[in-house]
Symmetry: C2
Subunit: 400 residues, 2 copies
């Protein structure tokens, strides 16, 4: 018989996907250029030309047997070494190839990280606002994702709630910095305090508590922002990375798990990833993409458009009277809605062809997310719609 739990999941359609489908339908009516679609976190800039050139060069000159051959189950060794070298140089943490497992994007990396350190019945804590796909990612392993309520003043960590929720079943804490949906980078102070709580509780409960750091937006940090290196604060850190956003390669499924060399049994943990793969049908990222990415580790796509867009949107929102924490990076902003129920707020916005996502989806009701990975010209036009929306629906009414 087909398995009911997966069948039942089909009826729980993602809010983001519904909005994105609405945007596509509305686009078919009035032209997609007139729909201000802030629903999806898809990179809007092309992969660097250097990546394309390297791919063409390899295809023209290298043996197909080499390019398309099986990757060893932990990834191609030279690629793992290149990643480790790059991380070591950049962050001063002594990563070696043996600490790197090449994974099919962040989703693949997280699938391994969760299975490394949790079994069914265990708990993983994460902090609102958070990426909603963490729910199926974690819960389908048999462990349970628990969400610590947001610290809405700054979108750092709500430590009171965290210290209340962490318990002896907590085997891992999952963070995402720079954060989707808030755009916030966790400060050194936040990470220091987080590490203290984890060390304290690990000792109290008599087992390790791992910090799983999901960092697909690591390269998208705005001017003047200091983005601390998570494993520098806590030994038992498992970093999950994806090149999807930094190199604009989301479809090529390439990322990695980096286990902090300071972890006890760090190399064993990487070897275990190869065993986990056998159970979940993961057989490494595509070989040719591994080989190409290893040659552009210090490059990114031209990410400057995201900061340009952020500034335009942030300034206009503040001008219009929104409460909003200024993003440190990513291509998201997470303002407070102008009425209590953000779902109602976002529903009204649709009349102005503004596609905004209610914060409820991200465990933070009353707020909404805008994914501003769109052309700046469209952002500018969208702000006119935003002004009209706010004035008509809220400022006019306020004076009524």
């Amino acid at each position: 018989m087909i398995v009911q739990k997966y069948k039942e999941m089909l009826s729980g359609k993602s809010v983001i996907r519904q909005l994105s489908e609405f945007a596509a339908e509305r686009g078919a009516q009035i032209g997609y250029e007139n729909v201000f679609d802030y629903s999806l976190g898809n990179p809007s800039v092309p992969a660097p030309q250097e990546f394309t050139d390297i791919m063409i060069n390899m295809l023209q000159n290298d043996s197909p047997m080499l390019l398309h051959g099986y990757s060893p189950s932990l990834g191609i060794y030279s690629v793992r070494k290149a990643v480790a070298d790059s991380l070591r140089e950049r962050f001063g943490i002594p990563y070696a190839a043996e600490h790197i497992f090449m994974a099919s994007g962040a989703a693949g990396a997280l699938a391994h990280a969760f299975r490394l350190v949790t079994e069914p019945g265990d708990e993983i804590l994460t902090f609102a606002p958070y990426f909603p796909e963490y729910n199926p990612y974690v819960n389908l392993t048999g462990a349970a994702l628990k969400v610590v309520p947001a610290s809405t003043a700054d979108f750092q960590i709500n430590f009171d709630a965290f210290e209340h929720m962490i318990n002896e079943k907590t085997m891992a804490v999952l963070i995402n910095t720079p954060n989707n949906p808030s755009g916030i980078v966790y400060s050194a102070e936040t990470l220091r305090r987080l590490a203290e709580v984890l060390k304290d509780r690990a000792e109290k409960y008599g087992h390790e508590i791992y910090l799983i750091s999901d960092e697909p937006y690591r390269e998208i940090v705005f001017e003047g922002v200091d983005s601390p290196c998570v494993p520098a604060f806590y030994d038992n850190t498992i970093m999950c990375y994806s090149f999807s956003k930094s190199l604009s390669l989301p479809g090529e499924r390439i990322g990695y798990v980096a286990v902090n060399p300071a972890c006890r049994e760090a190399e064993t943990m990487i070897n275990m990833c190869g065993q986990i793969s056998r159970g979940i049908g993961h057989n490494c990222p595509p070989s040719i993409i591994q080989l190409a990415v290893a040659q552009v580790l210090s490059r990114t796509a031209d990410l400057s458009v995201y900061e340009t867009n952020m500034k335009l949107i942030y300034e206009e929102l503040i001008h219009l009277g929104f409460t909003c924490v200024k993003p440190d990076g990513t291509f998201y902003i997470f303002p407070k809605a102008l009425e209590e129920d953000a779902k109602v707020f976002c529903q009204k916005a649709l009349q102005y062809d503004l596609i905004l996502v209610p914060g409820d989806t991200f465990g933070c009701p009353g707020y909404f997310r805008m994914a501003y990975c769109i052309d700046t010209e469209k952002v500018e036009r969208s702000l006119e719609a935003m002004r009209k929306f706010v004035k008509t629906e809220y400022q006019t009414k306020r004076h009524e």
Copy 2:
């Protein structure tokens, strides 16, 4: 704490991998060209030039946003449609795009198929000799793989044993035709009888029993052999395919699940694959590889070397007095060892630099596998070593 079951798996090293490592070490001593390494089932012919040309052409002319963008969770629609069209034309079964789920190779496809139709505690039956990775693939889902003993006379199905073992916990039967390691194609008669048993037992137990057909070697079938289309025999068939062998792209992780349109809820099953993906970190095969493969669906690498090699090896083995079922396809042959314990036989062969894999690994003790995906010139030289091995170790002794 790190999860013990994966740590413990590290100590259970695969026999094939150990042999392959031995071959590499021996190669470092005497030159790899002098090691007759029949251990690994890696394609030995390059991907077709047409595939390379298509990749280069896309990289030169198409938008990186299109080439490297996110694939929808079921695969790129045009690719799913192209696969369905190709299957429909070839096999006369009315596949549509809605019956195809693009997967990261056969391992990814099987990971979805198992989770579609089994839950922890259920059983999946397969038939010896069988691909040993089926053990972790199935057992790590929580279901249990049970192996029906081989029919060594022809490597078709041992129906007596099968009918004895199938029971109400059997939710799926897993077949692999053309078969690794025997090289045998299941005949129409075998498939007809298999379907009858499945229908009969499904009715008796009051639940569907799915046939999961793992077909990565479908394109490697030798002259004069009829390779029946599995879903034509049984409605509830889930086909798992990989382009690894047919296009020599094992590292690029591209394959698919095709649910027989005659399955009840076939389209729902494909949609469920997208949900299963969320739990196992699968986010579709690489976009650029999906797009490229869709353009060469009717092509293969030049697979003729495998048949050339098979004929040379088979004739020599028969000449030397081996008992051996002639392969119908693949790049494997599975002869009976010349002494009862094939592990001892293969150990002795190492002294002649012949790397053979004992059949115990494949659930069929007393036999051994040769993966003849190597150059024909090397096959020819290896046969001299084989003659020397057999004469010295067995024929001389026989006359002592």
